[in-house]
Symmetry: D3
Subunit: 194 residues, 6 copies
């Protein structure tokens, strides 16, 4: 095997920063400045600038804007559905973000493997039950599912948020697997030490 530092991060071509459109390069440099490294999803998707812009616009709408779901809860949805989709990149990268957002070094691994046994509230388990149903049996979603959510004080807008995050990362999981997107080594340790 190649030394890790040389391991490819995508089975598709990855453009050099200098070859990227200005707006994309700037976003990457901003992320790098903030995080200390550029998460590979930015580099891998930069192969298709138009898709890159739409992907991150969508991502930011769902993950960064105000919502009744906390940012940690949104990451829980990503982590639970992404492991069920066997997506290495998303579990490892968003597991790191979840640990940081929840200020809990254990929670990401627990939720990835079996959220039913994780240190989360019953309300959060209901949120993840719905997210998993969207991810794997969306065709069977009906009003009774919204009723269960309502019983846990998730209103319609919250339900849309859960569904949209599970749906968006279902797309992301598929692209990450199809491109063999490699998680950055940095993610593995993030948030593990309080």
């Amino acid at each position: 095997m190649a030394p890790l530092s040389q391991a490819p991060i995508s089975r598709f071509p990855v453009p050099a920063l200098s070859d990227m459109p200005e707006d994309i390069r700037e976003r990457l440099l901003a992320v790098q400045e903030k995080s200390g490294f550029i998460p590979n999803v930015f580099l891998v998707l930069a192969h298709r600038p138009g898709e890159f812009r739409a992907f991150f616009a969508y991502h930011d709408e769902l993950m960064d804007k105000p919502s009744n779901l906390t940012k940690a809860e949104r990451e829980m949805i990503v982590v639970a559905t992404s492991n069920a989709n066997q997506c290495q990149y998303c579990v490892i990268a968003h597991g790191a973000i979840l640990r940081i957002r929840a200020k809990n070094p254990l929670i990401a691994d627990q939720i990835a493997i079996n959220y039913r046994k994780a240190d989360i509230t019953d309300r959060q388990k209901a949120m993840l039950d719905f997210a998993m149903k969207v991810a794997f049996e969306a065709f069977a979603i009906g009003e009774e599912d919204y009723t269960v959510l309502a019983r846990h004080r998730f209103d319609g807008e919250d339900a849309w948020d859960i569904a949209a995050i599970a749906s968006f990362f279902g797309m992301s999981n598929r692209m990450a697997n199809a491109t063999s997107m490699r998680p950055n080594d940095e993610f593995y340790m993030l948030g593990r030490v309080k």
Copy 2:
């Protein structure tokens, strides 16, 4: 049951045209002028303007820009994977577009139900085999799948296109099922008469 004309097109609120942001209203009016009606996906997603913009930016990148895949072939991917995901809106709306793009009134139903028995080329069946693997077993995609595609003269960029369309509509299928998005009555007959 409500008369069809009164059947709801979403289980979520649908904004009036007059309440939509300017750019979204303009896009809807342009679509209406071109098609004679506003496909419900535009109205349903307008409930969330930010997501609307990202969704259609992504959609247009994948479905409208130049690609080695013909526009009919891209619609084939949508139709085959959407029926497997049991998404009424996408099969009916994109089935209509496929009939028009392929100038073939039979092909959408054939592909939706069982593309292996459809009037398409072996190359197109290989394209759909890959799309279905992305949709249902993306975790198992490997170089051998790209080799099969290459044998059918699909290069890496074509493979990305197939994967991205299958992934994007996997998201769309889930949102359509979660919102109970109703296909417009107009779609059912489009392209059925040459």
Copy 3:
């Protein structure tokens, strides 16, 4: 691909009308006179006259005799289970019959793709829930399923009808897929224009 008019309707030999046993030829001519064409299932199964006779005797018992289920409801069962079995012939041919029987040009596509979102009554959805369970998990059918049906005013005889139709077309779906039975072009448009 072969021009459609020359596309084979079966991967098995199809006898000429003149080579068929008298009773079978007569049935085919009667169907042709009534419908304007001979549905391919008659031609494909005529390869085995004994099986043909038994198949249609069974079919007629279930689909044509008096029953509390309307003829449209019986076709709903066929269409929903046949799409789940990915049977092109049955969805397209019986979709046409359903549109005609229900005098509803939209209903067949809706039910085929996702009956839970179709313009049908809750009672009809309960009927299709039971039919799908017979088609895919008959081993788990128990008295509680009959109780649910009873709550929707389906008695035991109605339940037998639903089960028998789902079972019979499960057989038909498998034979249609194994023979690559091709739906007649005529079916696609039938019942689409009121």
Copy 4:
């Protein structure tokens, strides 16, 4: 639990012999004379005389008429697919017939549980591979499956026979489960002692 002799053989009404149509009663009496008992499938289906006649006409075409498949091989198909469908009646009744036809007291249990490990030829395993694909993935059957059969000296007519038996008993399995059809106690021991 009720003493076995009083255990119901169907969750539906079972007509008395004296109430059955003449032709059906005669068939039952003939079977009784030959076998020493009336297999319950005859009694259960007699609730619907028209379906009874079609069912047994079909059954006899597939299981009794001349074919390149031996009668034991046809029963192997029934036993393997019926256990996969969890159909108590068909595994126990046709297991008995298989033991008798194959003059082998072990083979039915072996095939029911895992035909891949049974004392049968590779050719028979290929036959059962095809039968299981018809039973569970008929939508994916293609010419390559017929090629594998041909390599084992099964021609097209043999393939039809295998497909038709797997399809017919798929129907029978579903009806037996829906009716809670009880196998006669006599079947369990038949053919177990050479």
Copy 5:
């Protein structure tokens, strides 16, 4: 095929009795004296003496020690889960033991094929529902499952017993399939004649 008496009982080497460690040979001789033959599982696992000892120590803990579950009930768990795992050895060998323990020649076949239709109590069906969930969806087991068991008068210790037997034989089923472990001919008839 090899004559049955020469059919291999494992795809791995089987040691001669004289080559086995003393303690293992003694156990086998004791079993042979008691049963009249040596069940093949003893011979097949003797290939690995250390694993043999642990396997049977575990087995004896679960199947022979005092428990609120009768010995017949424990065998029911083995038979139901082993057929679902398609394990020829375990269904045939433990089916024999179940017939003997339950003094019922019919029950093993009934439970193997579809325990929901077997001549057992509702309490035993609840036991098997739990066992099947452990065998196939252990990740989803929650307190509600223990509550259902409690309603049928199974306490926590009983639940552990059920789970442990289903889990242990899940292991055994996998090893039997991987080794192509052949059931002894003697098992097929045991307990069939009262």
Copy 6:
């Protein structure tokens, strides 16, 4: 939720060290001395001393004795199959051991989520393909699977080892889920810092 330090490690009673049989207490104290803590699996299974002894005797045979599989490779099997079984305890505890044995802080998460994309050799991927087939489709294992292993220089004894580890941890995964066995907090960080 309870503070983590008070979170239960099992839904079953956990005996105090002082109440355990001498041999079990000694094993636990020895582990504690070596590792600095007592892995919860020891405490949870101590509820059943006889099963405890058999479980660990089996475990030690498979995981500690000489084998052509390295200790890291054996842990890879545990981690890959345990995540597929959604077993929190086994993925987290054995993930830690794998990181230590492989001296690789990244490998456990990679293998757990999708071993096909992990930094391991093709030979190790073939090992895990076989292990996953044992875990989920053991009934379909045949000589062709052993041939693939042989092509990667795994002989019969190696194959047994792989199968036995996948089978044993399949049991362990089920018991851990049924008991809600909680991984010790210590495992999460072990082996993450070289």
